[in-house]
């Protein structure tokens, strides 16, 4: 698609012998919120750094905002807003100075930067901390400031690498709210996350990465429909007992997964499966019927074992 803001074909990144990204195709359209999901080490951040025009690609094609990062890196970066995984604010400067200095790096005039900083302090709800140094701010405040800072140049495309990792629920919801507003203003968002609720909340479309490759692609609803069932029935047992019950409930579900203390039955109707299980004499310690989530998709696609 020619109007894609980001277009990658066979994009690869190697660090020495290690291949972090092993050939991915990505199209991000104007105005959408696009997510990279995947476990740690899946290659999300490497992909983001290539799209952010800081890390040169090893192979493949990449266009960002219609330009080639290898040729026009600085011009593309002038139109991007980047929220890195690890905050890199200047903690010895005040909140406002952080915005000033960063805005100047984009070649903006002092007057423009001053006006923008005031607007962004309000957006990030940091106006009353404007003259404080960054150092003592809470994690949520620093994250909000990092997001505000990334907006100082009025970017057309924002890259957010795990924007809410390590934040408490209040701070996460406030950040999500700010990101929704940006999206409403027409800013295109690309984010990485390993929080499935975040992906479901924010992303119109997403790809699941594992081992440097894209293993699935679609909207959250699509992916749940394709890789999971509508509902999940969780039957909990004393640890170890679940295995003996497996045969009794096996045919009640489209797919069955066994964990150390429970059985997960993927089915379209959880309540019906539960009463059928009861009729067959299965007596779990407790049971739960819930909607399938992206987390079920994620675990199915990328496995339950630790990767790092």
């Amino acid at each position: 698609m020619s109007d894609a803001l980001v277009q990658a074909r066979g994009l690869r990144k190697c660090f020495g012998d290690i291949e972090a990204v092993s050939g991915i195709d990505v199209d991000v359209r104007p105005g959408e919120a696009f997510g990279f999901l995947g476990p740690n080490g899946a290659g999300k951040s490497s992909a983001m750094r290539m799209i952010g025009c800081v890390s040169p690609r090893t192979a493949g094609e990449l266009q960002v905002l219609g330009l080639d990062p290898d040729v026009d890196g600085p011009r593309i970066r002038a139109r991007l807003g980047v929220v890195p995984q690890q905050d890199n604010l200047d903690t010895e400067l005040s909140v406002r100075d952080n915005l000033h200095v960063y805005g100047r790096y984009f070649g903006l005039s002092r007057a423009a930067v001053r006006a923008k900083a005031t607007e962004l302090l309000d957006f990030a709800q940091l106006t009353d901390r404007a003259s404080d140094k960054v150092e003592p701010l809470s994690g949520g405040m620093k994250r909000r400031l990092t997001i505000a800072r990334s907006l100082v140049n009025d970017p057309e495309l924002m890259l957010l690498d795990e924007p809410t990792t390590g934040l408490d629920p209040q701070a996460r919801h406030l950040l999500w709210d700010r990101l929704f507003r940006l999206k409403q203003q027409g800013v295109t968002l690309i984010l990485t996350t390993h929080y499935m609720d975040e992906a479901e909340q924010l992303c119109d479309r997403l790809v699941v990465m594992d081992g440097g490759l894209i293993v699935a692609e679609g909207s959250p609803g699509d992916l749940i429909a394709r890789y999971s069932s509508r509902e999940v029935l969780e039957l909990r047992f004393a640890p170890g007992e679940q295995h003996g019950q497996r045969a009794a409930v096996d045919e009640l579900a489209e797919r069955l997964e066994e964990l150390p203390d429970r059985l997960l039955l993927y089915t379209t109707d959880g309540e019906r499966a539960l009463s059928a299980a009861h009729q067959r004499g299965v007596r779990p310690v407790s049971s739960l019927v819930r909607r399938a989530t992206l987390e079920d998709v994620f675990l199915r696609l990328t496995g339950r074992s630790l990767v790092d």
Partner: protein, 275 residues
């Protein structure tokens, strides 16, 4: 998505090298404006202590004894003061080029923030080095004021010594910045640099006594030291005894170190930030 307002647009413009360099300097100045007090003590006080201890204290002994006059034909304080200008530049260069650079890569990580803007890693390196140049010039000027109060300045030549001292400091700073950009651990290598490079360089580069007093086999070590070349220049300018030929030679050596250091620093910044 329909935009509620016509949103303002990013510039989409790259920055010319000189502009990017100035903007990096401006960013560092913003920090300095708020935190300068801590740096004044270390950058001016230290050469001053040397001046009092050696120039005034030790120098009085030398001048009274008279035997030093066979080698040095001016009061020891006057002999020492311009050389300490060069020592101060080297020591400030050593400090400004090590931990602050490592910190901007590793602890504060603000170089990574800059790398996401139109400013390129090479421009960032040039900005950092330009900033150090200004810092050395500022500290040197403050030191000059103080030594004139001590009566250690003889004539206007000492003013010409200032840019020469800054050149000397940058001949050391630029390669050290390149080195600091390669350090990945917590900077233990800097301790070795201070102990085994800066310290001996300070003692044996002709600051306190002419290198003709060194045993002959050791003298080539002084010749490679940027501080010796800087000392010859600053002292020569201050005492008005600088000859054109040697002056060009010393300046060329220091300029070559600066150029090599700048190229190395730009390369290391690119290698670290754009990987």
């Amino acid at each position: 998505m329909t935009a509620l307002l016509d949103p303002p647009r990013a510039t989409g413009a790259a920055l010319p090298g000189w502009r990017a360099t100035l903007l990096v300097v401006e960013g560092l100045w913003t920090w300095y404006r708020r935190n300068w007090r801590a740096t004044v003590i270390s950058s001016v006080l230290q050469p001053l202590l040397f001046l009092v201890a050696f120039g005034v204290g030790f120098g009085t002994l030398l001048d009274r004894g008279g035997r030093a006059q066979q080698v040095i034909d001016v009061p020891y304080l006057v002999y020492l003061a311009p050389a300490l200008l060069a020592v101060g530049a080297i020591q400030n260069a050593a400090f400004e080029s090590t931990y602050p650079v490592l910190s901007a890569f590793k602890w504060q990580r603000n170089y990574w923030g800059v790398s996401a803007t139109p400013i390129t890693p090479g421009q960032l390196a040039c900005g950092q080095l330009s900033w150090i140049t200004l810092r050395l010039a500022g500290s040197g000027a403050a030191y000059l004021l103080v030594i004139s109060l001590f009566g250690a300045a003889r004539g206007p030549g000492i003013v010409a010594a200032l840019p020469l001292a800054v050149l000397c400091g940058m001949a050391f700073s630029a390669p050290v910045v390149a080195f600091a950009a390669t350090v990945e651990n917590d900077g233990a290598a800097f301790n070795a640099l201070f102990r085994f490079v800066v310290m001996p360089m300070t003692l044996f580069s002709g600051t306190f006594f002419p290198i003709s007093q060194l045993p002959e086999p050791v003298r080539p070590l002084a010749w490679i030291s940027p501080l010796w070349h800087g000392t010859e220049l600053t002292r020569g300018a201050a005492l008005g005894v600088l000859e054109l030929g040697p002056a060009l030679g010393h300046t060329a050596y220091l300029a070559a170190l600066v150029i090599a250091g700048v190229l190395l620093a730009r390369w290391r910044f690119r290698a670290r930030l754009a990987r």
